[in-house]
């Protein structure tokens, strides 16, 4: 493939990566992923650094220093940090994607995460005008338009509001996997699928606030607007706003992080992430959509016939194997745990199947942890690896009966220009040395 096969980026259609100048060598990338290019896969149950049989393990004899000396005091880090040995587990940018890092994206390191909740500091970040810094005392939320009583709320008002709820939802950017429409491009699930996170939100139902303002019967849409320098806006159907949207001030038990919209963001369960307006400042009720830039120029899906779908809000069921994956290669023959995530904007993940041979044969994976509607679900396949080449895939199903399509099935309907809503089945090629690569199969 030549560089002309690269899809346009989400935003800047003039963006072009300088492929030849890419600073990345394959060896450096694999080092980042935790193994050298030539790392040997250990056979059987043997650990990588195990001593010869019969020789005592130097990690046991003598007793390690950390067992014989006092450790750090309790409040060494008043706000705790991950172990220093996990320093590579961070968000990463693809700098060639966008012209400005104030309107850009950094990706969740899915390959290193497990369970279903994303740690607050690792949630992917997408800004359109940089990160706003809002003093909580100066925060205001305005509701107006087709309502009986236009209202202004403070943060304290929202925190005193009756009916506070806690709900777990995934947030996926509509452009997640958008770089993969024309073929395998980025080598790591952090980059191919990392525009997603899954959090427990604390907040109040949007319905409570709209009811207080009294929505006029002519009201059909709500414009949500942010207080950042993009003054981000999206039109949301009133029916959705009244059904399950939240005005949230908490994530995973603490205040929203600044990059997630501190102090208040909108939660729009199952729908594309751009609608979850951060730094929420205004809600306006109207009788038609506003046709804002982010629902016309962007976040519309250009199909092969030159026409475009708009208001494609719901995120289709999707899944990806996070381990093994290019940044998390296989290191051992014998017992291994394949792990991945699945989610659907239409409801609950009912089943995930895994294939190790590129989609010829499938085994139903084991789901563990909560399987909640519009929330990330974790699946596993415990398997023995004899060192043969694998073509790993996962296929999610939800409780509406939707089955995640192959990339070919998706392209047959949508072409390759739509940028958004790519939920096709991902393939990882695992080589006999454990090295894993993003590929397409046919």
């Amino acid at each position: 493939m030549s560089d002309t096969s690269l899809p346009p980026t989400e935003r800047a259609s003039g963006a072009k990566p300088s492929l030849s100048k890419s600073s990345l060598s394959r060896r450096r990338f694999l080092n980042l992923a935790g193994i050298g290019a030539g790392a040997a896969v250990a056979g059987g149950g043997a650990a990588l650094a195990a001593p010869a049989a019969g020789t005592p393990d130097p990690n046991i004899v003598p007793v390690p220093d950390w067992t014989k000396t006092l450790g750090a005091p309790v409040n060494e880090n008043p706000y705790g940090k991950p172990s220093v040995f996990e320093k590579d587990v961070v968000r990463r940018e693809v700098t060639w994607l966008t012209a400005s890092s104030q309107s850009s994206v950094s990706f969740t390191p899915l390959y290193a995460l497990d369970s279903v909740i994303t740690p607050n500091g690792l949630c992917f970040v997408r800004h359109h005008g940089g990160q706003a810094e809002i003093e909580p005392d100066k925060y205001r939320l305005m509701i107006h338009g087709l309502v009986d009583k236009p209202l202004v709320f403070t943060l304290e008002d929202l925190k005193r509001m009756p009916g506070r709820v806690n709900r777990a939802y995934f947030l996926e950017c509509a452009a997640n996997s958008g770089m993969e429409w024309r073929g395998a491009q980025l080598n790591g699930c952090q980059f191919t699928h990392g525009m997603i996170h899954n959090l427990f939100y604390t907040g109040v139902p949007l319905k409570t606030l709209l009811d207080m303002a009294g929505v006029n019967p002519k009201g059909k849409w709500v414009l949500a607007e942010g207080a950042d320098a993009a003054v981000m806006t999206r039109s949301i159907p009133l029916e959705k706003a009244m059904n399950d949207c939240l005005v949230a001030f908490g994530m995973n038990g603490e205040a929203l992080r600044p990059e997630q919209g501190y102090p208040v963001r909108l939660v729009v369960p199952g729908w594309e992430g751009n609608m979850w307006v951060k730094w929420l400042r205004r809600l306006k009720v109207g009788d038609q959509p506003w046709q804002q830039r982010e629902e016309t120029s962007k976040y519309t899906d250009l199909l092969a016939d030159g026409r475009s779908r708009r208001f494609t809000f719901v995120m289709d069921a999707k899944s990806v194997v996070t381990s093994p994956s290019p940044q998390a290669p296989l290191k051992h023959k014998g017992p291994n745990v394949l792990s991945g995530i699945a989610w659907s904007g239409r409801g609950t993940i009912s089943r995930v199947d895994v294939s190790l041979d590129g989609g010829r044969n499938w085994t139903t994976a084991r789901i563990d942890g909560p399987a909640l509607p519009m929330s990330m679900t974790r699946f596993y396949l415990d398997f023995d690896w004899a060192g043969q080449e694998l073509m790993v895939q996962s296929r999610a199903m939800d409780d509406t009966g939707y089955v995640q399509p192959t990339k070919q099935e998706l392209r047959a309907i949508r072409g390759t220009n739509s940028i958004y809503h790519n939920n096709g089945i991902q393939t990882w090629l695992v080589r006999s040395n454990g090295e894993t690569e993003n590929v397409e199969v046919g």
């Binding site: 400005s100 305005m142 009756p162 395998a184 320098a229 306006k284 038609q288 046709q291 016309t296 590929v439």
Partner: protein
């Protein structure tokens, strides 16, 4: 206390089990409104699984909640900046292509190019007509955007990048007029105003239609996806490593200082 904690746990586990074994799906009828209402109810019940007493979920709805305060007209006016496709929200004012050219060269061209062609990797704003079906579509105001109102709204709201909300209505009208002229949609002597605005149509408007995935992609709702011998021999047809465009975790470099 103990008892209720146990009950909560049990109900959570039960809901988990239900969710996982929820395979016995009703006939997939995604489009049906009745089915949708039913589905919304199920989804809500599942998310609210740990709510002990259902009655407690409904806030004192009957009683007015004494929080928030009325918004003043001046406050609404200060934040009410949206402009709709039918022209609602446009402020009084006007501006010519000529004035717009001057303003664009001063405030926009360093990123978007003198003719909206895009400098470096910044967005292209003009041209691209007839490219939407091609390998590399160029989506611009002239080739792609459905409504001119969006140009007014967005330029005022978010541009110039780095000093948004700084343009007056007259300046914004002028810049929009210039952008329409760059896209061959109005003549060089055109003056755009609140009054003639709704008459400015963009050529690609008719090519947008509402989400129809639940009908056009109905084939993706399958009862029993294939599990065994689903295809012939499978081969690798494309590889990411050949492109070698994956970043390596170097610290991000900003373009704006």
């Amino acid at each position: 206390m103990w008892k209720s904690a146990e009950t909560l746990l049990a109900s959570a586990l039960l809901a988990g089990a239900l969710a996982v074994s929820g395979m016995a799906v009703a006939d997939p009828q995604p489009g049906k409104p009745a089915a949708k209402a039913e589905k919304d109810k199920t989804d809500k019940a599942r998310q609210a699984v740990n709510v002990a007493a259902p009655a407690a979920t409904a806030p004192a709805a009957a009683k007015a909640i004494a929080l928030g305060r009325p918004a003043l007209q001046e406050e609404i006016a200060a934040w009410n900046i949206d402009v709709r496709a039918d022209g609602e929200g446009l402020p009084p004012g006007k501006g010519s292509v000529k004035e717009g050219e001057e303003l664009f060269l001063q405030n926009c061209a360093q990123c978007h190019g003198e003719f909206g062609e895009g400098a470096g990797r910044w967005p292209v704003l003009a041209g691209g007509r007839g490219t939407l079906k091609s390998e590399r579509p160029e989506k611009t105001i002239g080739s792609f955007w459905p409504y001119a109102s969006t140009v007014y709204d967005y330029v005022h709201r978010a541009m110039p990048f780095g000093s948004n909300l700084s343009l007056t209505p007259d300046q914004t009208y002028a810049i929009v007029a210039y952008l329409l002229n760059l896209n061959d949609l109005v003549a060089e002597d055109f003056v755009l105003s609140k009054d003639n605005f709704p008459k400015v149509d963009l050529p690609n408007e008719a090519n947008f239609y509402d989400d129809d995935r639940e009908t056009s992609e109905k084939a993706f709702w399958k009862k029993n996806p294939c599990m065994k011998d689903c295809s012939g021999e499978v081969h690798v047809t494309a590889r990411a490593q050949i492109l070698n465009v994956t970043p390596d975790g170097d610290p991000p470099k900003g373009n704006l200082e």
